[in-house]
Symmetry: none
Subunit: 229 residues, 2 copies
DNA sequence: CCGGGATGTTACAGTTTCACGACAATCGTC
DNA sequence: GACGATTGTCGTGAAACTGTAACATCCCGG
C-alpha cells in the first residue's frame, strides 16, 4: 500500500496535530510544518501529491508560498487546498487567483477536509490512491515503481514508465501526441510531436512478453490509447 | 483529435494558467489569451465550442467582446460563460443581455467552473462532453475513439469516424453536401461536393454488419442524414 | 417508355501517417 | 573522466487514407 504524500502547512499546533493524526489514520503519508519557507524546501526535496496550505503562517505568507510553488517546475501542478479564515472574502479571491485548487473556510470539520482531499486525489491521480493498477495481464505498482507482466518484471526506462502509467490511469482513453507531451513530459517541454512515436515504440518493445498481444492502440490521426480490457 | 475546443479569455496570468491546466487535464483543447482583440481574432480563425470570458480584460472590454462575438456569423451561437467580479449585479444583467449563456461570480472554485462547462457541453454537443452517443444499434465512444455495432468494433478511417460522429450528433437532421464539408472537413477546405458521396459510400460500407439495415438516408437533391430510430 | 439530372460505385494516383532503425547528444554513475 | 543507459531527431519505406474522374445506376416528370 502506499500512500499518497501530503504536505500540511499549518501553524496552529493543535489543529496541525489533529489533522496529521487523522490523515495518517487514513493511510496518507503526511509531512507537516508551520513555516512557509520550510514548506517550500520540503516540497522541493520530495514533491508531494497534494498540499494543504493555511493562509496565515509564519515565514513566507501563504499566498507567497502558493505563488512560488506554482512557479517551480516540479510543483507547478501539485493541487493545493487553501485554508482561510472565515469571512476573508478577499483572501479567497486572491487564493484562487494565485492558483489554489480549492479552499476551505475555517472553521471546518476535519471530515470535510478529508472528503475534499480524497476527491482531489481521485481526480488528479486515480492511481495514486497508492494502489497498484492492473490492466489485463499488466500490473503497475506506483510505489515500488515496478511493472510486471505475466509474473515477469518488465525493464522500463524512466520515460517509458511514466508513459505507461499515464496510459494506465485512463484506460481506453485516446490521447493526442500533444496531450501526451503535456501529461508525461510536462507543459513546458519543447519537443517534437513525432518524438512521441518513438517512445511509444520503445514502450511497446519493452512490454513485449512471449506472444502477448500489444495493448497499445494506434488511432490514426488521433493519437494512442491503452486497451481497457 | 476530436476534443472540444475552449477559448479562455482571462487576464490574470496565474488564474488563466491554472484553468488552462485543469481543462487540458479534462481533455479539452484549450487556447488562452488575456486580450480582448486577440480573443476575437482567435475565435474568428478557429471557431471554438465554448468561450470563457472574463469581464475585466485588456483591450476591448468583456462586454464588447461578447457583443462582437454575437454579431459575427460564425460565433453567433457559441456558448459563452462570463466571469464577473463579485456583487456586480449590473454586470450580470448586462452580460446576459449581451448574449452570455451563463455567468460565474468570483471567487469561484475551479471545480465549479468545470461543472458548468461540462453542463454546457452536454447540452450543446453531447459527444464533446465525452459522453457516448447511442443510436439504434450503433454506439460511439468519443473518448475511446471507438465505434461499436452489435457488439462488434467497427473499423473506421479518420474521415469516416468524423462523418459518423457529425451525423450522430444530430440524428434525423438532413445535411447538404456543403454543410457536411463545413462541419466535417472544416470551413477552409476546398473540396468537390461530389467527394462527399464517396465518403458516404465508404462510411456505409464500414458500418455494415451482418444484415443490419443502412442507417444513412439519402435525401434526393438535399443531402444525407442518419436515421434517428 | 424516355430523357436528364442526381446518386452509387469503382479505380487510381497522390498524399499523409506511422513503424522502424540509426545516430548523436545528454545524463547518471562509478 | 569513462562507460553504459537514456533521450530527442531524422530519414526511409510500407500501409492507410484521400480526392477526383469516369462510368453505372437510379429516380422522376413528361
Amino acid at each position: 500500500m502506499s500512500a499518497a504524500k501530503l504536505l500540511l502547512v499549518e501553524d496552529d499546533p493543535s489543529l496541525s496535530e489533529l489533522l496529521e493524526f487523522r490523515f495518517k489514520n487514513e493511510g496518507y503519508d503526511v509531512r507537516a510544518t508551520s513555516d512557509g519557507d520550510e514548506a517550500l524546501m520540503l516540497a522541493a526535496e520530495d514533491v508531494p501529491d497534494l498540499i494543504i496550505l493555511d493562509w496565515m503562517i509564519e515565514g513566507t505568507s501563504g499566498i507567497e508560498v502558493c505563488r512560488q510553488l506554482r512557479r517551480a517546475k516540479d510543483t507547478a501542478h501539485v493541487p493545493i487546498i487553501m485554508l482561510t479564515a472565515r469571512e476573508a472574502e478577499d483572501d479567497r479571491i486572491r487564493g484562487l487567483d494565485t492558483g489554489a485548487d480549492d479552499y476551505l473556510t475555517k472553521p471546518f470539520s476535519p471530515r470535510e477536509l478529508l472528503a475534499r482531499v480524497s476527491a482531489v486525489m481521485r481526480r488528479v491521480r486515480p492511481a495514486l490512491a497508492g494502489e497498484t493498477i492492473e490492466l489485463g495481464d499488466i500490473k503497475l505498482d506506483p510505489v515500488a515503481h515496478r511493472v510486471e507482466r505475466r509474473g515477469r518484471t518488465l525493464q522500463l526506462g524512466p520515460t517509458e514508465y511514466r508513459l505507461l502509467k499515464f496510459f494506465m490511469e485512463s484506460p481506453g482513453r485516446v490521447f493526442s501526441r500533444g496531450q501526451l507531451l503535456d501529461g508525461v513530459w510536462g507543459t513546458e517541454s519543447d519537443i517534437e510531436l513525432r518524438t512521441v512515436d518513438v517512445h511509444i515504440r520503445r514502450l511497446r518493445k519493452a512490454i513485449t512478453v512471449d506472444d502477448a498481444k500489444d495493448p497499445i492502440r494506434t488511432v490514426r490521426s488521433a493519437g494512442y490509447s491503452i486497451e481497457s480490457t
